[in-house]
Amino acid sequence: MTKDSYTVTVPKDLADLIPTFMSNRKKELQTLRAALAALDLEQLRQLGHRMKGVGNSYGFEKVSLLGKQIEDGARSGDRSALEACIADYDDYLARVSVVYG
């Protein structure tokens, strides 16, 4: 797990959307944890697919990368990979900061 901080640059005119976007990512993290605890691989796959699509659209490349890994992990049923991805996502959300440009 990296201790680096993450900075994402978002276009100014999307600034209004970012608080909701970040809040939804935190809710998403909770949902991922619950799905992993229940070993609901279909829900994990769907959540990963959604993260993959929305993350880098806003400029959050790592959200899309983790989303793809979660989608793949859910498909293969690799629980330890899923656990690592979710922990990585938690760490990322705690460290990411946004600048508007």
């Binding site: 005119d13 999307l14 209004d16 959307l17 959604r50 993959k52 699509g53 993350g55 659209s57």
Partner: protein, 376 residues
Amino acid sequence: MAELAIEQKSPRSDTAFRVLVVDDDPDMTAFLAALLRRQGIEVGIAGDGNAALARVAEAPPDLMLLDVMMPGPTGFEVCKKLKSDRATALMPIVLVTALEDKESRVKGIEAGADDFLSKPVNPPELLARVQTLRRLHETRRELESRRQLAQLQRKEAIRKAFSRYISPRLADRIIQDVGVEGGPFNAGAQRSNIVVVFVELRGFADLIESRDAPEVVAMLNERFAALTEAAYHYDGTVLNMTGESMLVGFNVPFLQSDAASRALSTATEMLGRFGSAALRRGHDTDVGLSLSAGICMGEAVIGNVGSPHYLSYTAIGDPVDTAAQLARLAGANEVLVCGRVHEAVRGLLPAGTLAPRADATLQGRPGTVQVFAVRV
């Protein structure tokens, strides 16, 4: 997260380009909507396939950005449904998908998608694709409005052409009928039960000898105009007009359940108008012109008859021949009707309106036919 789906209402305008964004992820719809609104595009949002179909039914957008993996109908299913409906088949649909495999692309093409956009969405790529489809849409709209204008002009030309032969009301019905499969003017020749009024003008042969040609033509035109007005008044169709006769049909090209009554009223009004036309000319009232008419009903062949260079929409058959012979039998300013017309109208007219005359022998017919005279 559904509670986060916020749709910012912007004032609707008829000329604005309208895009419907369909995605179950509110962050995605908010993102796409923000990008599009920045371009002055009017944006609607639907959170799933069913909501999208409902929005389209309510007001079809000019373009749809459609997610694929959604609860309920998938984007493929929504796309296929809209593309198979004539009303929405031309609406451009862009599938916005995080599915990367070629199979999904093929599925999208098979569903009729106009374009694809990959998630994560690259804003410049999104805007470029939307602008291209917008230009296409505007070109299509321009072509459509030109096509509609051309169709309007064509219908107006038809109206002007047909208004010479039929009443304006019938002309409107024919225009509605243009392009309708099986409509009277699109069907080939057919047999129909019709009622015809054959009108004969008498006395013009003598006038031709004694008057200048322009004067004779002016007098003829004035009287034919009066007779045509009477025919149009009862929605009759002028099937033929020669120098000294005129054939008016009823129950053609459209059904008229009271065709016999209309024919009788037309003939009676023709007598009145013919007299008025003469009176208007003042000094020409006593030029020896008269009108006689015969009315008959029965089955006739209706169609465009003639050569490729000259066609006339007319009727041929027994009722036409009988009406012509009755007109010749009639006295000056008299209307004669056949037994079938008498049968059709006798309960509808005051007693004594039709007086029996001696049965007549008609040329080319065995036996005799019943004849009645109209008392004006």
